[in-house]
């Protein structure tokens, strides 16, 4: 066994170091094009590296990088399994498009070096959150992600709403991450370790002592339940699940448009991903949380299911009444995250494993569809806003006719999220539906359809405004939107691709889930960990 | 003849409750106010005494390594004094 794959370990640190240089360069270099080019090059490199990681992980199973050469519980390790690799590649690619799009959007703004520093910091946070194999490192990466997000939301400092949304997002977000820290204190206090794989072992096998972290302290079931319950707050907050969604409709629209795309498309994924890690990898179906005496896991999952349903409904309903296109898209995010959480909460001990796997596959598939689609929609909306000079749906009326290609992409994005058959959204929703049917929950399955049906109204409203509605005033002919149009068209092609490749993708993602979250996957996750320990331990 | 450990330790144990009483009284004054300078003055005195007592306690814990804490405490409380004074007497903090 070699030292581990360098692109896994060095990715996030290099990214953040590359971000560090930008403000210094900003003192000396005044040409904006340099920073645009810099950001695009860096994100492109990251995209290539994550894709390489995906290929390696796909072929050889979970990969672990132990920082500093210390065996995992002693040192921090990045552990990438199929799920992490898929999400990492998704993040990096969407981020590349966002960086290219920023070239157009940010050109007239001041403070470009700061913007790109924060954007690269955001990407470092995202990649780190996905790749990390250590719960405390997850906390740090969440903070990297959050602070960049707060900064980017408040980037339009002249807009009162933007700054206020950033403050609201920031204060409650900081409280939530602190509560996650308390959860970590409980975890360390009773398990004596912070490594995810180590926790996975200890939560399952009641009397095992891994080489560097033996013993338990106190009642581990209660501690784990408390820790999971506390940490769920921050994860649901980051992904804006129902009671914690209040910040999203304010914060996402007020951010600069490329950032809205990143927040809605990528940041919300982190919460769902972390919940999967906590409830499947670490405290999974055969762990201490499911033993007959303490059925905590089922309670938590039921709560998540209900919150997911409510979130889907609330998001879909609120979409209808919005007058602001970016706000409408933000509520659509709430709705879709509800669907994702419904999928990932179908892991009760009573449900057959096949159904769980199918639901998780649907969840992951939907996450991908939503990321691509929502990034597309925000960026396309940015083009129309640039044409019309307003975010109000009334003001946007007919603006799409000035940019027909962008409008076409915009429509594809909406159809994707709506779930129209040839596109990806349909397949993921259908998969979710059938998973619930299989699990014997027809009512929930019908609710998936209802949520989709309600949200159609909101989408139709936006589409109608942009293209069909006669415009109140004559827009000037716009130039210079070639680049953003190209970006949204590429994303539209990706949407179509996600739909066309559905049969292949479904089986591939199903394998991904099986290889990372189901018991076989968890086993290989743990084995990679134990292998590293054996390799690195002192003689 | 070397210095007996237990004698020194016993002495410090006797001072501990007296010190804690003083600390509590300072805290009472700090929380009671009534004006801002009163509170700051109480925090000030409390922290300088704490800095001194941390050094004494380091002997009690037999860990001389704990010392650098005292200087940091003293310095930053001075900075706090200065900030509050500046707040009270001037219009802008930077002028």
């Amino acid at each position: 066994m070699e030292a581990g794959i360098l692109t896994i370990g060095a990715l996030a640190p290099i990214l953040v170091v590359l971000a560090f240089i930008l403000p210094l360069l900003g003192i000396f270099i005044k040409r904006k094009i340099f920073f645009h080019a810099y950001a695009v090059v860096v994100t492109a490199l990251i995209a290539a590296a994550t894709t390489y990681n995906l290929i390696v992980v796909w072929r050889e199973g979970p990969q672990l990088y132990a920082f500093g050469g210390w065996p995992p519980p002693l040192g921090i390790s990045y552990e990438v399994d199929a799920l992490g690799a898929v999400l990492g590649a998704l993040t990096a690619w969407v981020m590349l498009f966002i960086a290219i799009y920023s070239r157009w959007y940010m050109d007239k703004e001041t403070g470009i070096p700061y913007y790109y520093t924060l954007l690269l910091g955001l990407e470092a946070g995202l990649i780190g959150c996905i790749y990390t194999g250590d719960v405390f490192n997850l906390f740090v990466m969440l903070e990297v992600l959050s602070i960049s997000a707060y900064g980017l939301v408040g980037f339009h400092r002249g807009r009162a709403e933007a700054v206020e949304a950033a403050v609201k997002y920031g204060i409650i977000g900081a409280a939530a991450t602190t509560v996650y820290f308390i959860a970590l204190v409980f975890i360390y206090g009773s398990y004596g370790t912070l490594n995810m794989a180590d926790l996975a072992i200890k939560a399952r096998v009641m009397a095992v002592a891994t080489p560097f972290s033996g013993g338990y302290y106190g009642n581990i079931a209660v501690a784990a339940a408390l820790a999971v319950a506390l940490s769920l707050w921050v994860f649901t907050y980051k992904s804006a699940l129902f009671p914690n969604h209040f910040w999203l409709p304010d914060a996402h629209p007020e951010a600069p448009t490329p950032v809205s795309a990143a927040l809605s498309g990528l940041v919300v994924n982190i919460g769902a991903y972390a919940v999967m890690r906590f409830l499947y990898t670490m405290f999974g179906s055969n762990s201490v949380l499911t033993v007959a005496k303490y059925p905590f896991r089922d309670i938590i999952l039921w709560a998540l299911l209900i919150l997911g349903i409510v979130s889907g409904l609330v998001g879909a309903l609120m979409m209808i009444v919005q007058e602001d296109i970016k706000r409408l898209l933000a509520y659509s995010t709430v709705s879709h995250i509800g669907l994702v959480f419904m999928g990932l909460s179908l892991g009760f001990s009573t449900v057959p494993l096949a159904a769980t796997q199918e639901a998780l596959t649907a969840s992951l598939y939907h996450l991908i569809n939503h990321s691509v689609g929502k990034a597309l929609l925000f960026m396309a909306a940015g083009i129309f806003i640039g044409i019309a000079g307003t975010r109000k749906l009334d003001g946007l009326a007919g603006s799409g006719r000035k940019a027909p290609l962008a409008t076409a992409a915009f429509f594809i994005g909406f159809l994707q999220l709506m779930g129209l058959p040839p596109l990806g959204g349909f397949f993921s929703k259908f998969l979710l539906y059938s998973a619930f049917m299989e699990a014997g929950m027809p009512i929930v399955a019908v609710l998936v359809v209802i949520i989709s049906a309600i949200s159609v109204l909101g989408y139709a409203k936006a589409m109608y405004s942009v293209w069909f509605r006669p415009s109140a005033k004559e827009f000037e002919n716009v130039t210079g939107i070639t680049l953003p149009t190209a970006v949204v068209l590429l994303l539209a092609v990706a949407c179509v691709g996600l739909g066309i490749a559905a049969p292949y993708l479904t089986s591939a993602l199903s394998t991904t889930i099986a290889n990372s979250l189901m018991s076989k996957g968890v086993l290989s996750y743990i084995q990679a960990f134990l292998k590293t320990i054996n390799y690195l331990s002192p003689p | 003849m070397t210095v007996s450990e237990s004698e020194v330790i016993t002495f410090i144990i006797i001072t501990l409750p007296i010190y804690m009483a003083a600390f509590t009284l300072y805290a009472v004054r700090a929380l009671k106010g009534p004006t801002i300078p009163d509170t700051v003055l109480a925090i000030d005195a409390m922290t300088y005494d704490l800095a001194a007592f941390l050094v004494v306690l380091a002997i009690f814990f037999r860990s001389p390594i704990l010392i650098p804490t005292a200087i940091v405490l003293a310095l930053w409380v001075y900075a706090l004094d200065i900030y509050v004074a500046k707040y009270l007497e001037s219009k802008e903090m930077g002028e």
Binding site: F136, F139, V140, E143, S146, I147, Y150, G151, G154, R157, G158, R159, A160, E161, V163, E164, A166, V167, G170, I171, I172, A174, A175, T178, V179, F181, I182, L184, V185, Y188, G189, L194 | I9, F60, F61, R62, S63, I65, L66
Partner: protein, 135 residues
């Protein structure tokens, strides 16, 4: 018979938990943004103390306190090392708290700047008034 040490230590732990509750109240229910930030700093601090409390260890004898996790000899013998590991407190929570303190500081500093900006734009830091201004 009540163990006095246990009682005193529990007083510490429960007052910390009370502090958590009070500061959460401050974050959610006090109207002023500044007050929210103050409560946020208290929340972070309290979490940090809790972590350190978790890392503390019992005294091996009534007058033999634990020592900080710093080895004081540069040429240790095996005895020194085993004495050190039998007396020193847990260093890991301290490292975690160090990280958490700095992170809390960073977030607070940025929130302060945001709050100043809110005041510049709205003329108040009271969330109720801001909500009214927004209509």
């Amino acid at each position: 018979m009540i163990d006095v040490n246990a009682f005193l230590f529990s007083v510490l732990v429960f007052s910390l938990i009370m502090n958590l509750g009070i500061s959460l109240y401050g974050i959610f229910w006090r109207p002023s943004l500044v007050k929210k930030i103050i409560a946020l700093t208290i929340l972070g601090d309290t979490a940090n103390v809790l972590a350190i409390v978790v890392g503390y260890r019992a005294w091996i004898a009534p007058n033999r306190p634990p020592i900080p996790p710093v080895l004081t000899t540069w040429k240790p013998t095996a005895t020194d090392l085993s004495k050190f590991s039998s007396l020193a407190v847990d260093p890991l929570p301290q490292a975690l708290v160090l990280t958490a303190v700095v992170i809390g500081l960073a977030v607070t500093v940025f929130l302060v700047f945001l709050t100043i900006q809110v005041y510049r734009l709205h003329g108040t830091t009271d969330v109720r008034k801001i909500a009214k201004l927004k209509g």
